[in-house]
């Protein structure tokens, strides 16, 4: 089975499904109508070509003459959420971009500004009351998990740093690093003086 095409079909269907759940996304899609964007993610074996019309089509090969081509790693992908950072990412060589930067920006905006009313979507199948209670319950559950997670993190941190002293406190690490830097500078200075004295003695 062609694995690349399977992955492509999955990504294409998922993106188009998400866009269809947000009616406002069609307006943002119009800005990209007729454009082609090639995304080469370093960790993936295939480049992706996004073609924008009333829907998004995805090819698992690089288009020969795209409007924009970007190459980046998976870790940088997440940073593209903030389109104002594009220039900084290019300067820091985390992102290679050839062509029309607006295509990349518009695609990023298209996905980031997705606003899906999950309660509305669920109500189609379950009715309003069940949908409201389910989404409300899910939100509370997520909030509770977050709270418990933070408490657990804090508890673990206290136990490991303060009580068991298995891990150093960030401030202690900072002080240690400064002390090491100071020692390195002192050693280098001493080394330089010794060299100078040695040269004088030889001269």
């Amino acid at each position: 089975m062609p694995a690349a095409q399977l992955a492509g079909a999955f990504i294409e269907s998922a993106i188009n499904k998400l866009l269809s759940l947000d009616p406002a996304s069609q307006k943002r899609l119009i800005a990209l109508n007729g454009k082609q964007l090639v995304v080469a993610v370093k960790e993936l074996p295939w480049p992706l070509t996004f073609i924008f019309n009333d829907k998004i089509s995805l090819l698992m090969t690089a288009a020969e003459q795209p409007d924009c081509r970007i190459a980046l790693s998976l870790s940088t992908l997440n940073k593209l959420k903030d389109t104002s950072q594009l220039t900084r990412l290019i300067q820091e060589r985390e992102l290679e971009l050839i062509g029309d930067i607006h295509v990349a920006q518009s695609f990023s905006v298209l996905l980031n500004e997705l606003d899906i009313d999950w309660e509305e979507q669920l109500s189609v199948y379950t009715g309003d009351v069940v949908a409201h209670q389910t989404i409300y319950g899910a939100k509370q559950l997520v909030a509770r998990f977050k709270e418990h997670g933070q408490q657990l993190q804090q508890g673990l941190s206290d136990a490991l740093i303060q009580e068991k002293q298995l891990i150093a406190h960030p401030m202690a690490i900072e002080q240690f690093s400064q002390a090491v830097n100071q020692l390195r500078s002192d050693t280098e200075r001493l080394d330089a003086r010794l060299k100078r004295l040695s040269q004088k003695q030889q001269g």
Binding site: Q5, A9, G34, I51, T61
Partner: protein, 250 residues
């Protein structure tokens, strides 16, 4: 006694060349309405991935002119239409008007309009001027053509210099075990599915037989080269059950 030169295959049967086109037409008139559903059932949806692979290998660009030959219900046309955009054009051609109508209705329902034309055409005598298309695809259609050499020559004629032909077609599995499983599936299960879903076991019996009578990978590659295609290659898909042949006209 019949002249063997005037005979051709229709599945495992030998029939007059003049008869084959109308016999194939009857098969597709019969299955047109359930064609997509049957394709999904028979291939467990994998035909969509084979078609995606074809498009990925086509190198299609905005503004190009594409001929989707034996395009049936328009799966490839739909995708090509979006890629070539308003400045390009896709011609969906099929010899069978029932298939063409199903394809046209399906594409229009999906909002694919403007850059798609529908032409009823025989692959052996394409009604287009020389050097017209940048890309020609024929997916699961070549084995139904009576004179394949004539059809390939016709495609070569209407292809622009620099253009490419992609032939997606059932072929010969690469492994013996897969071949046996595939035979059992094709000759025993497939006609039963056809009977159950499309109420037509015979057409699907023909499908299985026509696949076995179709030239294997190397033979088809040779046939393409014979009519003038260059840099001809093929890529086996799903263990060779299907192969994508690609050739260029320079």
């Amino acid at each position: 006694m019949q002249d063997p030169q005037e005979q051709t295959h229709f599945g495992f049967k030998n029939v007059d060349k003049a008869q084959k086109a109308s016999m194939v037409a009857d098969v597709f008139h019969s299955v047109a309405g359930k064609y997509d559903l049957m394709n999904d059932l028979m291939s467990m949806g994998i035909h969509r991935l084979w078609k995606r692979f074809t498009i990925d290998c086509s190198g299609v660009r905005q503004g190009q002119k594409v001929l989707d030959l034996a395009g049936g219900t328009g799966d490839l046309t739909a995708k090509f239409s979006r890629i070539v955009g308003n400045t390009g054009q896709v011609v969906l051609a099929d010899i069978n008007d029932s298939m063409l109508k199903v394809g046209r209705d399906k594409l229009r329902d999906r909002g694919i309009l403007g850059n798609v034309e529908y032409v009823q055409a025989n692959a052996e005598a394409l009604p287009f001027p020389d050097n017209t298309f940048d890309i020609i695809t024929i997916a699961f259609g070549l084995r139904n053509v009576t004179d394949k050499d004539k059809a390939l020559a016709s495609m070569y004629r209407v292809l622009k210099p620099g253009g490419r032909l992609l032939v997606l077609e059932f072929s010969k599995p690469e492994y013996e075990l897969l071949n046996k499983v595939y035979d059992a599936y094709s000759f025993h299960l497939l006609p039963k599915i056809g009977q159950l879903v499309a109420n037509d076991a015979e057409s699907y019996q023909y499908l299985a037989e026509s696949i076995r009578m179709h030239p294997d990978q190397e033979t088809l590659k040779g046939m393409m080269e014979q009519v003038g295609f260059e840099q001809t290659t093929y890529h086996n898909l799903t263990g060779g059950i299907v192969a994508l042949h690609r050739g260029f006209k320079f």
